[in-house]
Amino acid sequence: MPEFTLWDITRNLLLAARWTVLLSLIAFAGGAIVGLLVTLARVSKFKALRLLMRGYIELFQGTPLLMQLFLAFFGLSLIGIEVSPWVAASLALTLWSSAFLAEIWRGCVEAIPKGQSEASASLGLSWLEAMRYVILPQALRIAIPPTVGFSVQVVKGTALASIIGFVELTKAGTMLNNATFQPFTVFSLVALMYFALCYPLSLYAHSLEAKLHAARRT
């Protein structure tokens, strides 16, 4: 058994943290794009579409992410579709985060007073134009705190990708703990790195909120 120095542990954890960052970015970018579409469908005029999206959201919010990852990787290859771990992880994380983001954003869109859309309609704006120029810009401001709050969840949720073979921060932590038997050192470092990833996100949210409020006051 090789002897691990503190630097060896830190170095390996930092290397693994790259995957945590990359998976988070994929989950968040993919989730934001799909989530926006789902949000729009969720508040659209068509009842069937609204119900369909509601089902989509309930499905992905109501089942564990671990299971979604598992099914995306092993389930798809059982029915003959070969997927790489990257495809499976991107797919599962995107679907999962889009469901949560869509529900957060639906709340934000519906929080905008009805008079705003009525006023837009009376100005002759189409539904899409009203969304783009009137409703969404206002909803954006309310959406920032819960969205950032959720993005912190996404960062921590990527740890589950280890079930399909990703050696990200948490997985690297358990592997190192196994080789070193120093749980306190290893997991303290893991926790610190998660904090270092998540805290700047929260800070950024605060500054964004302040900025958008100021813009509103002028």
Partner: protein, 260 residues
């Protein structure tokens, strides 16, 4: 997790039984020139990681030995005890060499080679714990890895008042013992040997044996050619002392009789 495994195993079984084996895995491996092996990375000395986070251990060396015997390259796929069978069933690997124990439930879904590694399960604890048999566990808490063979076995024989605290992997079970969260731990001889080598403050000693269960190599059902070849290679490695050498290297003990 347990439910998930059962569900998936059932699904796999249904699909596996509905389709005949069209290809011969041994021929496929030789044609590809690569043997894909699922190996552990959280279970020293079978498999753990080195300074570069690459897997190393008894199972990894056995995988290399087999690949050499087959005349192909080896590709190591690190797995956990929760996902090693799905990796095999979905043909993402050819063999599982991952301290795999044999039981009737598993034999329904996959096939096994002959035994290739020594392994016995026992309850361990501090010298003064004084637990000599399963009945002595009454009122005590035992740390155990969920879904492992020791979990299945100890659940059968432990008295109702004994609390089995289940953890997701071996590593967490060990941590729980070392940090004092559980007073006793049920695990394998090899795990304890690896802990002992690190000189922890609460050195676990054997209290009583639960089961002697050597490890087998797992492979998909309906692959008689691959199975025969793997068995022949293990037999040869037993005879020429290669396994003995690996046992000395990783378990620091001579290779016991593994049986059939």
């Amino acid at each position: 997790m347990k439910l998930l495994q059962t569900l998936l195993a059932t699904a796999c079984l249904a699909i596996a039984s509905s389709q005949a084996a069209h290809a011969d895995a041994l021929a496929d491996i030789q044609a590809a020139g690569v043997l894909k092996v699922a190996v552990p990375q959280d279970f020293p000395p079978f498999g753990s990681v080195g300074l570069d986070l690459q897997p190393q251990g008894y199972d990894i060396d056995v995988a290399r030995l087999l690949a050499k015997g087959l005349g192909v390259k080896v590709e190591l796929v690190p797995v956990t005890s929760a996902n090693r069978i799905p990796y095999l069933q979905t043909k993402k690997v050819d063999l599982v060499i991952s301290s795999l124990g044999k039981n009737a439930e598993r034999e329904k879904t996959i096939d096994f080679s002959i035994a290739y590694a020594p392994f016995f399960l026992a309850v361990f604890g501090p010298q003064e714990a004084g637990v000599g048999k399963a009945e002595d566990l009454a009122g005590k808490t035992v740390g155990i890895t969920r879904g492992s063979v020791e979990d299945l076995e100890l659940s059968k024989i432990a008295p109702a008042s004994a609390e089995l605290k289940r953890f997701e992997d071996n590593n967490t079970t060990i941590s729980a013992y070392l940090s004092g969260q559980v007073g006793l731990i049920a695990t394998g001889n090899v795990v304890i040997a690896a802990i002992a080598a690190k000189n922890p403050p609460r050195l676990p000693v054997e209290q009583f044996k639960i089961k002697n269960s050597p490890c087998f190599i797992g492979l998909n059902k309906g692959e008689p050619a691959l199975q025969a070849k793997v068995n022949a290679l293990i037999e040869a490695a037993k005879k020429d002392g290669a396994l003995e050498q690996l046992s000395q290297k990783w378990f620091k003990a001579p290779l016991p009789d593994l049986g059939a």
